[in-house]
C-alpha cells in the first residue's frame, strides 16, 4: 500500500482578524473564520510551494535523485500558462527527469495531485499551495493562503486506503472567469449547499470505511462553518470535522486548505480513520487514511503577525497598480536563467588554485584574481548580516516600487555565508521582518521569494529572513 511518508505545512506569517474585515465593511462574509493567513507581497503559490516542499524533503530524509514524480496543485499559478513544476525542480534541485503533474482549475486539485501520486511508482513529491483572491467587498473576506507538501511512497507512515470520486456538473458554485483574478460564486445559497452536501455524501459513502468510526475529517472548507453544514448527511461527528478544519485560522487557502487540514488531523490521529473530502466546482474526491505522522510547519497555523485592514489591502495588491515605471534593471532572461543555481541555491565557486570562494562563481577568483574553473560549493543556509540599510517608502528603484507600495520599507543587507573553506558575501533583501529591527550581526537564513515581474515574467530568488 502507498501513502504518506512525510508531510509539512507552510502558512505565511501575516494574519487578518475577521473583526477588522467587519469593521471595514460593516459586514463579514467569512463565517467561522476568526483570522486568516495573508501572503506577503513577495509570496505567491510558487514561493509557498517551495517553502513547504523544502520542509518535507528535509523531514523525509529522501535522496532527491530518487524522486519519480512531482505533482503540484494550485488554483493560483503565478502564470496562467507557464512553468510551475520546472520552477520547483530548479529551486529544490530535483531531478529533471521527474514526471510532472500540475493540477489546477478547481479547489479539489489537491486530490488530483495526491491521487496521481498514489498511482505512480517510487517516491513522489506532492505540493498544494494556494492564495485565492476575491472581490474585497465580499468573496475576499475568507480568502487566505497556505501550502501543504507530502512525500508519497510505499511503506508509508500513513496509508491511504481508498479514494472515491464523484463528478457532476454544478454550474455557478465556485468559478473564476478566464483572465480574472477574483473567485466568484453566484451565491444561490440553497442550491449551492445542496450540491456540496450531495458531493460529500456521495464520495464519503463510497469509501470502504466505517464513517461512524472516523476520528477526523478534513472537509472542503471555504470558510470555518461550511464543513459542518455539508457533512449533515454522513455520520461523521462535529469533533471529527473540527479536527480537520483549519479555515478558522488561515481562511480559504483554495486547493491547499483541505491538504493542510488533513495534515493537521494526521498529526493528532490515533487508531481511527482520517478522511479528506475535496470539493472543487463539480469535482469531488474523498480519501481515507490510516495512521499518524509528525508534520513540520504546523506551528505556522498558530503564529502570525496581525495586519491592519488598510495594510492588508496593500499587501495583497488590491490597491496597488503593478506597472513597473521607468523599467527594471536590465538583466536579460537568458542571463537570469544561467544564474538560477545562485538565485535559488546560493551555489558559489571554490578556486582550485587558492581555495578562496567567489559568489557568483563567474569571472576571476575574488581572492587571488586568477581565472579558474570554479568547483561548485553550496553556501550555508544560515548567515550573518555584515552591513544593512533600510530603503524607505518611496525610495526604492522603480522595479521595486510595487513591492514597496505593497509591503512598505524594506531592509537590504550584505550577508556573509560560509561556503567550502571560506566565506562569501552577497547583497540580499530581507523579508518577513520589521526592517527597523535589523542590525549588523543578525543571524539570517535564505527563503525563495518573488523579486519582481518584468515583461510579464515573474523572477524569483533568495531573500533572507531572521533565523530563529
Amino acid at each position: 500500500m502507498r501513502g504518506i511518508v512525510a508531510g509539512s505545512a507552510y502558512v505565511p506569517r501575516f494574519r487578518l482578524e475577521s473583526e477588522k474585515v467587519e469593521a471595514a465593511w460593516g459586514t463579514n462574509h467569512a463565517s467561522g473564520v476568526e483570522e486568516k493567513a495573508v501572503p506577503a507581497a513577495d509570496e505567491d503559490a510558487l514561493t509557498m510551494a517551495i517553502a513547504a516542499a523544502r520542509r518535507v524533503l528535509e523531514d523525509a530524509a529522501l535522496d532527491r535523485a530518487t524522486l519519480e514524480t512531482v505533482a503540484v496543485a494550485t488554483t493560483t499559478p503565478p502564470l496562467e500558462e507557464g512553468d510551475l513544476v520546472p520552477q520547483l525542480v530548479r529551486a529544490l534541485d530535483l531531478p529533471a527527469d521527474v514526471a510532472s503533474v500540475t493540477a489546477t482549475q478547481h479547489a479539489a486539485a489537491g486530490a488530483e495531485a495526491l491521487s496521481s501520486a498514489l498511482d505512480a511508482d517510487g517516491p513522489v513529491l506532492v505540493v498544494a499551495a494556494d492564495c485565492p483572491e476575491g472581490e474585497p467587498a465580499d468573496a475576499d473576506h475568507a480568502m487566505g493562503a497556505g501550502a501543504a507538501a507530502f512525500v508519497i511512497d510505499d511503506d508509508p507512515a500513513v496509508t491511504i486506503r481508498d479514494v472515491a470520486w464523484h463528478n457532476d456538473h454544478t454550474p455557478g458554485v465556485r468559478f473564476r472567469e478566464r483572465g480574472e483574478r477574483d473567485v466568484g460564486s453566484l451565491d444561490i445559497t440553497t442550491y449551492e449547499r445542496t450540491a456540496l452536501r450531495e458531493a460529500v455524501t456521495e464520495t464519503a459513502s463510497a469509501l470502504e470505511v466505517d464513517l461512524e468510526g472516523v476520528g477526523a475529517a478534513a472537509v472542503h472548507q471555504p470558510d470555518g462553518g461550511l464543513p459542518y453544514r455539508i457533512t449533515g448527511d454522513i455520520p461523521v461527528s462535529g469533533e471529527a470535522v473540527a479536527a480537520g478544519t483549519v479555515a478558522d485560522r488561515i481562511g480559504d487557502a483554495g486547493a491547499a486548505t483541505v491538504p493542510i487540514g488533513l495534515l493537521a488531523a494526521l498529526a493528532e490521529a490515533e487508531d481511527d480513520a482520517t478522511l479528506g473530502v475535496f470539493l472543487g466546482g463539480g469535482t469531488a474526491a474523498a480519501l481515507a487514511c490510516e495512521g499518524s505522522l509528525p508534520v513540520s510547519g504546523l506551528e505556522d497555523l498558530e503564529d502570525g503577525k496581525s495586519l491592519e485592514y488598510a495594510t492588508y489591502l496593500r499587501e495583497r495588491g488590491y490597491v496597488v497598480d503593478g506597472e513597473v515605471a521607468g523599467g527594471g534593471a536590465n538583466v536579460s532572461l537568458p542571463n537570469w536563467r544561467r544564474s538560477l543555481e545562485q538565485r535559488y541555491r546560493l551555489v558559489a565557486g571554490e578556486c582550485p588554485e587558492c581555495g578562496g570562494v567567489t559568489f557568483p562563481p563567474k569571472g576571476a577568483c575574488q581572492e587571488c584574481h586568477a581565472r579558474v574553473e570554479f568547483e561548485p560549493v553550496e553556501a550555508s543556509r544560515t548567515g550573518t548580516t555584515r552591513a544593512v540599510t533600510v530603503i524607505g517608502q518611496g525610495g526604492a528603484p522603480p522595479e521595486f516600487a510595487e513591492l514597496q507600495q505593497r509591503d512598505g520599507a524594506y531592509a537590504v543587507a550584505i550577508v556573509e555565508l560560509e561556503a567550502g573553506d571560506g566565506t562569501v558575501t552577497l547583497p540580499a533583501q530581507l523579508t518577513d521582518v520589521d526592517p527597523e529591527s535589523v542590525a549588523v550581526g543578525d543571524a539570517v537564513r535564505p527563503t525563495i521569494r518573488k523579486i519582481y515581474t518584468q515583461e510579464g515574467v515573474p523572477r524569483y530568488g533568495a531573500k533572507f529572513e531572521p533565523a530563529e
Binding site: 521607468g326 538583466v331 559568489f359 530603503i391 522603480p398 547583497p427
Partner: protein, 390 residues
C-alpha cells in the same frame, strides 16, 4: 615622461537647470576655463578632448563628446567620451594628463557634464541605479544611497562612528558651499538640522546625501612650454593615481573602505613624492557623508576608524590642518555626475592660484579624489604650485 600642467579651469554654475542642455552648460564651463587663462590662448590650440559623462536620462548615448566639441566650435578636434560613472571626468582628466605627458598633445581639454533634473522621479531613480552592480546588488532592491548606507552601517559597527560624525560632513561642506556662488545648495546648515533630517537609507538621512545636479566643468591640461607661455602661475600635476575595484560592494575585500581609493592614493602620493601630511587641502568625493569619512582613512589623512575624530576636532575645517572640500564638495556644491571630477580640479586650480572662495593660506600641495559608483573606479590627483621665476 614630461610634466603636465593646468593652464585654466572653470565650471558652469552647478544647480537645477532643467531647461538647459548639456551642450549649453558645457559652453559655460568652457568659457569660464578660457577666461581663467592668464594669456591669450586660442581655442585652435586644443589638440585633443576627453569628456566625461554618465549620460543620465539616456540623452545622446552615442557620441555626446563630439556633439559637445562641435557645438563649442572646436571643429574637428578628436574627442573621446569617457564613462566611469561619477568618476567619468576624473578619468577624462587622467586621459588628458596622459596625452600631454606622452607628448601626443600640447593642449588637451578635459571636462564633464550632466543634466539630471529634467526627468520624472521614476526615470531619475532608474538612472541613479545604473552604476551599481546590476545582476545582484540592484536585484536586492538597493539604491545608490543604500549601498553607501550599508558601508556606513559597517563603519559605525566597527568603529563606533556616529550620526553626529556623518552630520559634521554636511555642516562643514555646507559652510564652505555657502561661500561659493556656483554651488547648488549654497546655504549653511546646523548640526541639529543635519542630525534630524528625514531618513533616506538608514543610517543616512537627507543631509548625508548629495543632490542631483546639472552642470559642467572643464580643465586645460598643457605641456610645460605652453604653461610658461600663457600662464602667470604654474600648477603642475605632481601625481596621478587611479585604480579599479569590484563594482558591487559585496564582492570587495572590505565593507569599511574603498580599496580602489587606497591604491589610487598610494600611486598618486608616490608619483608626487609626498605623503598626506604634506597636503595643504583636499577635495574628496563626498557623494554621501560616509564617503568623506572613508576618504580620510583610505587616503591616509588619519588611521582606520579615526575619521569621526578628525571631523570632531575640526582638522578638515577651512581653518584646520587639512581643509577638505573648501568648494562645498558634492554635498553643497552639487554632484552633476560627469562634471564632478574636473569640477574638483577647478577648485584645486583656484586654491593653488589663491583665487578660491574659501581660500587656504598659501597652499603648495592639493589633492583631488573622485570615486565612480560605490568604488568601482577611483582617480586621485596631487597638484603642486610651482614658483615662476620672473
Amino acid at each position: 615622461m614630461r610634466d603636465a600642467y593646468i593652464l585654466g579651469a572653470g565650471q558652469s554654475a552647478f544647480g537645477s537647470f532643467p531647461e538647459r542642455t548639456y551642450l549649453s552648460l558645457f559652453d559655460d564651463a568652457f568659457d569660464a576655463t578660457m577666461d581663467s587663462v592668464d594669456g591669450e590662448l586660442s581655442p585652435d590650440e586644443i589638440d585633443e578632448a576627453f569628456l566625461g559623462t554618465l549620460g543620465v536620462g539616456g540623452r545622446q548615448i552615442g557620441l555626446s563628446g563630439p556633439a559637445v566639441t562641435e557645438h563649442l566650435g572646436l571643429h574637428g578636434v578628436p574627442t573621446t567620451r569617457v564613462e566611469n560613472a561619477c568618476a567619468a571626468s576624473g578619468y577624462a582628466f587622467r586621459q588628458a594628463v596622459t596625452a600631454v605627458r606622452s607628448g601626443m598633445a600640447d593642449v588637451a581639454l578635459a571636462g564633464g557634464y550632466e543634466v539630471m533634473t529634467d526627468a520624472s522621479s521614476d526615470h531619475t531613480r532608474w538612472w541613479l541605479g545604473v552604476s551599481g552592480e546590476t545582476e545582484w546588488e540592484r536585484m536586492s532592491g538597493t539604491t545608490f544611497a543604500g549601498v553607501y548606507a550599508q558601508m556606513a552601517s559597517a563603519h559605525m559597527e566597527a568603529y563606533e562612528t556616529t550620526t553626529e560624525d556623518l552630520s559634521r560632513v554636511a555642516v562643514k561642506n555646507h559652510g564652505n558651499g555657502a561661500q561659493n556662488p556656483k554651488a547648488h545648495l549654497g546655504f549653511e546648515c546646523s548640526l541639529e538640522d543635519a542630525v534630524s533630517a528625514p531618513a533616506v537609507a538608514d543610517p543616512l538621512n537627507l543631509y548625508h546625501c548629495c543632490p542631483t545636479t546639472d552642470g559642467a566643468s572643464a580643465v586645460l591640461v598643457v605641456s610645460e612650454d605652453v604653461a610658461r607661455e600663457y600662464g602667470d602661475a604654474l600648477v603642475r600635476v605632481a601625481g596621478a593615481g587611479a585604480s579599479s575595484g569590484r563594482v558591487g560592494l559585496f564582492q570587495r575585500e572590505s565593507l569599511t573602505s574603498i580599496p580602489a581609493s587606497v591604491r589610487a592614493g598610494e600611486d598618486a602620493y608616490e608619483e608626487a613624492g609626498i605623503g598626506p601630511e604634506e597636503l595643504d587641502f583636499a577635495e574628496v568625493h563626498d557623494c554621501f557623508a560616509i564617503a568623506e569619512l572613508l576618504a580620510y582613512e583610505d587616503l591616509g589623512f588619519c588611521e582606520r576608524g579615526e575619521a569621526g575624530r578628525l571631523l570632531r576636532e575640526g582638522v578638515t575645517d577651512p581653518d584646520g590642518e587639512l581643509p577638505t572640500n573648501t568648494s562645498g564638495g558634492l554635498k553643497s556644491k552639487g554632484h552633476p555626475i560627469g562634471a564632478t571630477g574636473t569640477g574638483q580640479v577647478v577648485e584645486a586650480f583656484k586654491q593653488l592660484r589663491g583665487e578660491a572662495y574659501v581660500q587656504v593660506d598659501d597652499p603648495r600641495y592639493g589633492l583631488t579624489h573622485n570615486v565612480g559608483g560605490s568604488g568601482g573606479g577611483v582617480t586621485v590627483h596631487v597638484f603642486e604650485r610651482e614658483e615662476v621665476e620672473a
